[in-house]
Symmetry: C2
Subunit: 237 residues, 2 copies
DNA sequence: GCTAATTAGCGTACAGCATACGCGCACGTG
DNA sequence: CACGTGCGCGTATGCTGTACGCTAATTAGC
């Protein structure tokens, strides 16, 4: 799974040879695969289906892509081809906030990509660009490099987890707590039962904006560590 | 994918019928599947391989499990059958810290389960128990229910993302930054290049303990929100 | 312009996967 | 002893990714 994918992601496209010209291209294949994943889901991206969409034979794809796993790795990196625009003159917190929301928007736009982020993979040029943009923005405030990376990683780790619940239904999954309506589950999980009896999920702004809530808490904590002097109060923005 | 898995996870085991007694059982199947995943990885859990391990025919499994997807859902929930022990009398922060490390240990013990956590799934009794234990511990400090849930979710979201880098090689993946040794990648990603030229990844305690670092920052931020009065300093523990 | 080298396109074949169907058998109950 | 219920499972089907080798198209050298 992406073990030998290093040269694949970083290798040069190899100049125009002297043989038969290519009708297909790696870019066209990857782009069409991403389109299928967006429209029909990642499981529908099969070599057969993909070839049909491209009007080519199945095995022709293997002239441009070593295999399915590598294709998926290319799909994943391709959605990060352009790093986000971050505010440059408003400090690290504003930059990290913008970055976190950009990452979130990216995975909301490409729901199929989130599980791939959780799997170990080789860092491609796209993802490197996103990482670099965050590191530059934080490093501009003068922090040590490892401290910058640890902060960016903390935010990145949080965002990956926080986006997941938003992918399914929009708000917090109603199916999740169906079981509480049943028999003795209320006694088995009293703290969860409170959620239902108190009727949250419909009203709570905290839960509707749980992404921003957690992000602000994390940034508050980073701020306390990075700038021990500033004694800001906490507020939900 | 776990769409109709609701009754599966929460349904009763159905009393002993009056037909031929079952040699196989759902529990034995799930336990063996977990053992295979632990020893050989999740992709090796195929119905054929699983049946061979159990000394039964392939199709016999379908008498006890509706299908592969549901089996995986049962595997996932089964590793959370016993909720963690949390310190009850040391406040919400100690409890959440212990809970976060328990979740981390769980996924380190079952690396195959982490990608499943990222995918949308029906909440099973095991995961509900873990969630409930955290909610009870935080709720004991008297916070509103939705605030407790938002805090627990924030920690849970962070943990899921932070465990991933630890699964691959132990420390931060060396392969990740191989490309920086190459050509003009150093100019393309200057902030990442600094990481290499400064020689972190070998020495930085911050990066070695990035899990704890991010967790402490998040908990600091939650503390500032939940207990605005306490003006604790920040420290890396 | 002809020939040789190079490369793209792709049909066929194969191993592996989940699983629908239906038969036969073992057991508890009458 | 016979009945019926539920279990074990062999067979068959359609899907998956991909190794192999042939054919066609184009360019480089003569």
């Amino acid at each position: 799974m992406g073990q030998g994918g290093y040269e694949l992601l970083w290798g040069n496209p190899a100049g125009p040879g002297r043989g038969r010209p290519a009708g297909l291209s790696r870019e066209r294949i990857v782009a069409e695969a991403v389109a299928i994943a967006a429209a029909e889901g990642l499981p529908r991206v099969s070599m057969k289906h993909l070839a049909e969409r491209l009007g080519s034979g199945v095995m022709s794809l293997y002239r441009h892509v070593p295999g399915k796993d590598e294709l998926v790795a290319l799909m994943y990196d391709s959605i990060m081809s352009t790093p986000p625009d971050l505010p440059a003159d408003q400090g690290w917190r504003a930059a990290l906030t913008a970055w976190a929301h950009a990452v979130r928007d990216l995975f909301l736009a490409h729901p199929w990509a989130l599980p791939l982020a959780t799997v170990n993979h080789v860092l491609g040029p796209g993802e490197a660009g996103w990482l670099d943009s965050a590191m530059r923005a934080v490093g501009a405030s003068g922090f040590a490099t490892d401290l910058s990376l640890a902060s960016v990683m903390a935010v990145n780790n949080y965002v990956g987890g926080a986006v997941r619940p938003e992918l399914h239904g929009g708000q917090e999954d109603p199916l999740w707590f169906t079981f509480l309506a049943d028999d003795g589950a209320m006694q088995r999980f009293p703290a969860l039962a409170d959620l239902v009896t108190e009727g949250h999920f419909q009203e709570s702004a905290l839960l509707r904006d749980h992404f921003s809530f957690g992000l602000e808490r994390l940034l508050d904590g980073l701020e306390r560590y990075l700038e021990p002097g500033s004694g800001q109060g906490a507020s939900l923005t």
